[in-house]
């Protein structure tokens, strides 16, 4: 399991190659990349800044991955999350899950992403023409995380 918080950008191919290295049991690789959009809640976004809680961020994501491993056949998982100042079209977060089969890889990848949105201590601040504003948590993210309680 790998969890990295960094200001630098990441390369999806290189991260997948690193996670797969040496394991020929892997048949499925599910990935997710979150990207900065140029509009949020109707306003053009010029840039955003991501703040986090060092230490707790890593611990909470490791805990999320451990939960996914307990529910699905996961060979390995990687989360890279950027902090600092990002602009539209920049990559924000990468989740990669390797598994023997695609159903497990998809489910674990989406589960990790949904829980990361509601549990990992990151906060976004956007710069728009109206000034800076902290992004409010979305009820839809709580719903997305909550639905995993019904399964498994």
């Amino acid at each position: 399991m790998t969890v990295r918080i960094q200001t630098a950008d990441f390369d999806v191919s290189a991260e997948i190659a690193g996670l797969r290295r040496g394991n020929a049991k892997i048949g499925a690789v599910a990935s997710f990349v979150g990207v900065v959009r140029d509009v949020n809640d109707g306003d053009p976004v010029a840039e955003m800044t991501l703040e986090h809680y060092p230490g707790m961020t890593e611990h909470s994501i490791e805990e999320i991955i451990a939960q996914a491993r307990g529910r699905w056949q996961v060979i390995d998982a990687l989360v890279v999350h950027r902090i600092g100042t990002l602009r539209p079209a920049d990559q924000i977060v990468l989740v990669v899950v390797t598994s023997g089969h695609r159903g497990d890889a998809f489910a674990a990848c989406e589960f990790i992403m949904d829980y990361l949105k509601t549990r990992a201590p990151f906060w976004k601040k956007e710069s728009t023409a109206k000034g800076e504003r902290w992004v409010d948590a979305r009820a839809s993210d709580d719903v997305a995380a909550e639905r995993w309680r019904l399964k498994g």
């Binding site: 809680y53 999350h81 990992a120 201590p121 990151f122 948590a137």
Partner: protein, 95 residues
Amino acid sequence: MARDGVERIINAMITVLYFARLREALGTGSETIKLPADVSNIDNLRAHLIARGGVWADELQKTAIRAAINQSMASGDSAIADGDEVAFFPPVTGG
């Protein structure tokens, strides 16, 4: 022994961290405070900080505020002990 125990409790110190909107509104990201005798959990600590009035009351009364103890999510009745790192912050918005 009993004397040492009392001594330790009297001098109990905790670190309190504030993040994001809360950090900006309060004008501070962290403070080290002596744990008051009547503060044994998150609800007590929050009430103690709200009693400072002003922005402290305004911000920490918000129902959405989350708390963590030693980097794990905590609820109102989670116990606080000497040396703990307690954090208050708005709902998370990463990813």
